[in-house]
């Protein structure tokens, strides 16, 4: 029989399978496995291009202030690069959290990009263009606008789902288009900067990233958004794990029928979860458009709104996992410029590597499934072997008795 070939329970395969299925750690080991796979595959890819993968990965890190660059410009150093990394990571983490919040309730929020754009736009034209506001007023106002706009958008999607059973994927994709063109129209007709063709730059007081702060002799762009993002990750974690509200959300996401049976108001939970997902997306929007950047390109949705989905999956759709996942993805996205200049390859190569990582991270569940199947077969094989041995021994004994 074909599956009767030797199976070694202490072999590499078995150890790996156990590593991936370990209940306590699989949330950590599976993404790690994905990363290792990505490193291997992208190394092969880089070798084919005739580049040294080691140099490539180090320059990714250097681009994010996690390793030394060969040279720095005046007034900048590793620390400036690291703060730039945090600048990108903040909206990425918030966007990933937005996806996770809806996803754990069984909803697929694909409209994060649109929710980000609209809240960024509204915050820009209200607070961002207001003159003479103290940063102490302007910044909280920006955050508040982000929350309100995101919540409203999310609630609309949730309501459509609950009341008219319109699938959230359809409604969010459509709303993305509407927002993209509507804000594009207003930017082009009212708020355009004639030189950059983007929207006019917002006031520094309202920007959530403090630019050119002198730290340790280097000029750094310090993002306030990263504090919001990490706090939100822990808040979301707390909601899911410790509160009745989070339990009911997960219940609805896990099994809508059983949730109804348990007396949970499914419609209310759907609206709430979309609303909070929208709030997180709104926060991502203001940290992106009024932090990382300070203007908006018309008719362009941030790719981050979609990358966040894969980031969330890489983090095993857990809020704390998302912190690590968004760090990792940001390293590759933010470090791509420097990597491509060092290696002399096109910047798109970095996107290919990110793509490979995202592809593998989406396969996490599959890896776990395969590992589980392998262990089951191993278990079987062991049982069969033990029986076979017992039978042989019995036969030997019988034979001995006969003789």
């Amino acid at each position: 029989m074909n599956n009767e070939k030797k199976m070694n329970e202490k072999g590499f395969k078995a150890t790996l399978a156990r590593f991936l299925t370990n209940e306590k750690w699989s949330g950590f080991t599976v993404p790690l496995f994905c990363i290792v796979l990505m490193l291997i595959v992208s190394s092969i890819f880089l070798l084919i291009l005739g580049k040294n993968p080691g140099t490539a990965f180090i320059s990714f890190l250097a681009g994010n202030g996690m390793a030394m660059k060969a040279s720095y410009g005046a007034g900048s150093g590793m620390l400036s690069d690291f703060f730039q990394f945090l600048n990108v990571m903040a909206p990425m983490l918030l966007a990933a959290l937005a996806f996770i919040f809806a996803y754990r309730c069984g909803l697929f929020n694909i409209g994060i990009a649109g929710q980000m754009l609209l809240s960024g736009f509204v915050a820009s034209i209200t607070v961002g263009y207001m003159k003479d506001l103290s940063p102490w007023v302007a910044r909280p106002l920006v955050v508040l606008v982000g929350i309100v706009v995101g919540a409203a958008l999310g609630a609309v999607v949730g309501f459509l789902k609950y009341k008219f059973n319109i699938h959230e994927v359809v409604s969010t994709i459509m709303i993305n288009y509407i927002i993209s063109y509507l804000t594009g129209f207003f930017i082009n007709s009212k708020f355009v900067d004639p030189v950059s063709r983007a929207s006019k730059v917002i006031s520094p007081a309202s920007r959530l990233t403090m630019t050119k702060v002198l730290i340790g002799g280097f000029y750094c762009n310090v993002p306030l958004g990263i504090i919001i993002a990490i706090v939100m990750a822990f808040v979301v974690h707390f909601i899911f794990e410790k509160t009745v509200f989070g339990f009911e959300l997960r219940a609805v996401g896990s099994n809508r029928n059983a949730a109804r049976y348990a007396g949970i108001n499914v419609g209310k939970q759907i609206i709430f979860s979309m609303m909070i997902s929208g709030i997180l997306a709104g926060l991502a929007g203001v940290t992106y458009y009024l932090g990382y950047t300070n203007q908006i390109l018309p008719k362009t949705l941030a790719g981050m709104g979609y990358d966040a989905i894969a980031t969330a999956l890489l983090g095993n759709s857990s809020p704390l996992g998302a912190i690590l996942a968004s760090m990792l993805i940001t390293v590759f996205q933010n470090g791509s410029n420097y990597m491509s200049s060092v290696l002399g390859v096109a910047k798109e190569i970095a996107s290919v590597i990110t793509g490979i990582l995202l592809l593998f991270s989406a396969c996490g569940g599959f890896f776990r499934f395969v590992a589980k199947g392998y262990l089951d077969r191993l278990e079987d094989y062991k049982a069969a072997e033990a029986k076979e041995r017992a039978r042989q021994e019995a036969e030997k004994k019988e034979g001995g008795a006969d003789a």
Binding site: K242, T243, A251, N255, A258, A259, Y261, G263, E379, A383
Partner: protein
């Protein structure tokens, strides 16, 4: 060769079959004589169906040999088995709904003729004629021109039998054929089997119902946990003996019920109407009362509105018309949570999808009725030590077997233990009304016995119990009052003592005249 002492038509020697995680058959040997009805008796998961699936070519054994008419065979597919004149009627019929009976029967071996010498077409005339002849010969009474969607379960099953006969099968395997039939239909099927035996066919009957074996089988092989326990001569063995062998210990075949002590009316349903998603009325004006300490059982063939009735009372389905009153409170339009808090416990039919969250821990699943209340949570924040203690208590009290106690993920538990968890959780609420829908479906005898005891204990405590079951036996042995549902209506409500199972079976078919 001809003087062989005994001629076996089917022999399965030392059959072993493993599936990931379980050994379905462990060194099983059976020998079947030509022209006998050979029963395979065992609980769910004993390995009866697996064994027969190997004879029918659905699986290949890991070890062991199969002989048909003394000749060694290795079936790779059912078509090879049917080439050796073996046929099987599965538990779930494999019929095309919008084809006629005849078309279904010839499917795969259509009699092709050529019109004008070159245009191929299926000649149903001849096939239908052959079907009619066979139908008469064995008393099957199937009409080849009826559409499958227009005929009932019993006739569909006879279609499947006809399929085998049409293919000239000599060895017929029946997989739990009576589980979906009413008592009258069972009688009829058993008669057909006798007819087939008289016609020289060999029948292998998979079942867990001892009564049927007693009535019809010649010999009976008992399987337990994949292994062959014994092969018995049915005539000389008592029912009790068979039951004990099947379960592996002494079982009580009769439930002992105390005299009823009825209290006040707990649930009162008036002219209840329920419509399904397509706005078709599935419950058509049902009225009944249940008193404290009373088991009100609803008998009926599956799909006559009983599940919708239960769902309407618990609030999972909307009520179109009528009223539901619980303990004097009108709950017709209340939310589900309001109803459960007023006093309903519900063991749903589809426990895998309604009763539990498969991805959640046993602890969380056991706390489903209480998690939002103190002391399980305070101001919306959980106190997990309370639910952990509660889970440990229920696990002990209701003998819920789980790998890692409260931490066990529901999905990894067996169906029987999941059901124990649901029953325990619901009973623990001590609700005035408990609704059981198919509480013992797919469970083995020991577990059934246990759940029946729990139902009776709740009755003793003074709960009003609504029991909805497709197992007539269960209804007859537990009910104080029986309501028979047919086509969304309660055709008959009467004291259990005044009805025989034959009466109930008749009402289940929609016959009101004796």
């Amino acid at each position: 060769m001809g003087e062989k002492k005994e001629e076996y038509i089917v022999e399965m020697r030392h059959i072993t079959k493993r599936f990931p995680g379980i050994i379905a058959n462990d060194d099983v040997t059976i020998q079947v004589r030509k022209g006998e009805i050979y029963a395979l008796l065992g609980e769910n998961g004993a390995g009866k169906s697996t064994l027969m699936s190997m004879l029918y070519g659905l699986y290949e054994p890991d070890h062991g040999e199969i002989y048909v008419r003394g000749e060694k065979v290795e079936f790779k597919s059912p078509s090879e088995a049917s080439a050796k004149n073996i046929g099987m009627v599965h538990q779930h019929f494999k019929l095309v709904d919008n084809y006629t009976v005849g078309e279904n029967i010839v499917l795969g071996i259509e009699p092709i003729k050529k019109a004008l010498g070159f245009i191929p077409y299926v000649d149903m005339k001849e096939a239908n004629e052959k079907i009619r002849t066979l139908s008469k010969q064995y008393g099957l009474e199937v009409n080849p021109t009826d559409k499958i969607s227009d005929i009932n379960v019993s006739i569909r099953q006879r279609c499947e039998i006809m399929k085998m006969l049409y293919r000239e099968a000599e060895i017929l395997i029946f997989d739990e054929p009576t589980s979906i039939l009413t008592p009258q239909e069972v009688e009829y099927l058993l008669k057909i089997m006798e007819e087939l035996r008289r016609g020289g066919k060999t029948i292998l009957l998979i079942t867990h119902k001892i009564e049927e074996i007693k009535k019809i089988a010649d010999r009976c092989a008992i399987l337990r946990r994949g292994a062959l326990v014994d092969v018995l001569d049915v005539k000389t063995t008592s029912t009790q003996e068979m039951a004990n062998l099947m379960v592996g210990r002494n079982v009580e075949l009769k439930t002992t019920k105390t005299a009823p002590k009825f209290g006040d009316t707990v649930l009162s349903v008036r002219d209840l109407k329920v419509r399904d998603e397509d706005k078709v009325e599935v419950v058509k004006g049902v009225s009944f009362d249940i008193r404290a300490g009373e088991i009100f059982a609803i008998a009926g063939v599956s799909g006559n509105g009983q599940v919708e009735l239960a769902d309407a009372i618990t609030g999972l389905d909307d009520i179109a018309e009528g009223t539901v009153t619980l303990l004097g409170q009108d709950i017709t339009y209340s939310t589900i949570r309001k109803r459960t808090e007023t006093g309903i416990s519900y063991i749903p039919e589809d426990r895998q999808t309604f009763g539990v969250f498969q991805d959640f821990s046993l602890r969380d699943n056991l706390a489903i009725r209480r998690y939002y209340k103190e002391p399980f949570s305070k101001k919306g924040i959980f106190n997990f030590s309370v639910s952990e203690d509660y889970a440990s208590r229920l696990i002990d009290e209701y003998d819920i077997r789980s790998g890692q106690g409260g931490k066990t993920i529901m999905r990894s538990m067996s169906g029987g233990n999941q059901q124990k968890a649901i029953v325990g959780r619901e009973i623990e609420e001590h609700s005035p009304l408990i609704i059981f829908v198919q509480p013992t479906r797919g469970m083995d005898m020991g577990a059934i016995e246990n759940i029946h005891k729990q139902i009776l204990a709740e009755r003793e405590r003074g709960a009003a119990i609504l029991l909805i079951s497709l197992e007539l036996e269960e209804v007859m042995s537990l009910a104080d009052t029986i309501g028979v549902i047919y086509n969304g209506q309660l055709l008959k409500i009467a004291d259990a003592g005044t009805l025989t199972s034959q009466d109930v079976g008749r009402y289940m078919m929609g016959v009101t005249e004796a």
